[in-house]
């Protein structure tokens, strides 16, 4: 696993894009809709992070 500034910068871009979508949805509809969309994005990101970590650990175990 290579953790560096480059990897963190990618996360800045992802969070920024997610924020833009939440702001757009909130301004076009209601704050509640934006909040629900934000919560959905957080859940999706958590599931993605869990799967990524699981795969990473599986790869590391295969190497060892």
């Amino acid at each position: 696993m290579k953790i560096s500034e480059e990897a963190v910068f990618r996360w800045v871009l992802i969070v920024g894009a997610a924020a833009v979508s939440i702001i757009a949805l909130t301004l076009l509809t209601r704050p509640l809709v934006g909040a629900i969309w934000g919560l959905a994005l957080v859940i999706a990101a958590s599931v993605h992070a869990y799967r990524w970590l699981r795969d990473l650990r599986a790869k590391d175990a295969a190497k060892d």
Partner: protein
């Protein structure tokens, strides 16, 4: 035979003098691991403030948010957000430059990042002066100043780190190899964290 064993044991004791060396992960530098662990603790700190915010907003459920007659300067804070987000690009440019051996690009990127961060902080202080409410005004005022002030303190710390990195850059301390520019990489990771946190604070406090 016995004397040979004793001699071998003696040599062995001389070779391993002192405590064993600390384990070092081959996957991550200890400095980078340190800043990540620090950031995890910071996420927990911000999490406590966000929990208070959502408690006041959702569980207490006041009639209006922000409470009348208070208003938040959404557009000015939006411009401030753009300033801080652009500073992530400049610190990334600084690091990309030093990875390619471009020391002028490193200096330019660091100075630009510092100036953008200072501008953000200046605008935020100016916003505090003109808001028309203080941390003493209702729980809303307390949590607003608590969250944005906590973030502002982090920007201030980030500016200090960038100042040290800039001084070292102008003295020629950094090089293209990964281990030769950790002094920029670690503040860079911290700066990105501060940036991501502001995006979340802005969306939560000013937009939703």
């Amino acid at each position: 035979m016995e004397s040979a064993t004793v001699a071998l044991g003696h040599d062995h004791a001389e070779e391993h003098h002192g405590p064993p060396e600390a384990n070092q992960s081959s996957r991550i530098d200890k400095q980078v691991l340190g800043i990540f662990l620090f950031i995890v603790s910071e996420i927990m700190l911000f999490g406590a403030f966000f929990a208070s915010y959502f408690f006041l907003r959702v569980v207490v459920d006041p009639a209006s948010w922000p409470p009348d007659p208070y208003e938040l300067p959404v557009s000015i804070a939006g411009i401030n957000t753009a300033i801080l987000v652009s500073s992530s690009f400049t610190i990334h440019y600084a690091l990309e430059s030093i990875r390619r051996g471009n020391k002028q690009g490193l200096k330019l990127g660091l100075v630009l990042t510092w100036m953008l961060g200072a501008t953000f902080l200046f605008i935020q202080i100016n916003e505090y002066v003109h808001l028309g409410f203080s941390a003493r005004d209702l729980a809303f005022g307390s949590i607003f100043y608590g969250l944005t002030g906590l973030h502002g303190a982090h920007v201030f710390v980030g500016l200090m780190l960038l100042s040290f990195a800039s001084i070292r850059a102008f003295r020629g301390h950094f090089g293209p190899k990964a281990e030769d520019h950790l002094g920029v990489e670690v503040p860079g990771i911290y700066w990105h964290f501060v940036d991501v946190m502001w995006i979340i604070v802005y969306v939560t406090v000013y937009i939703l």
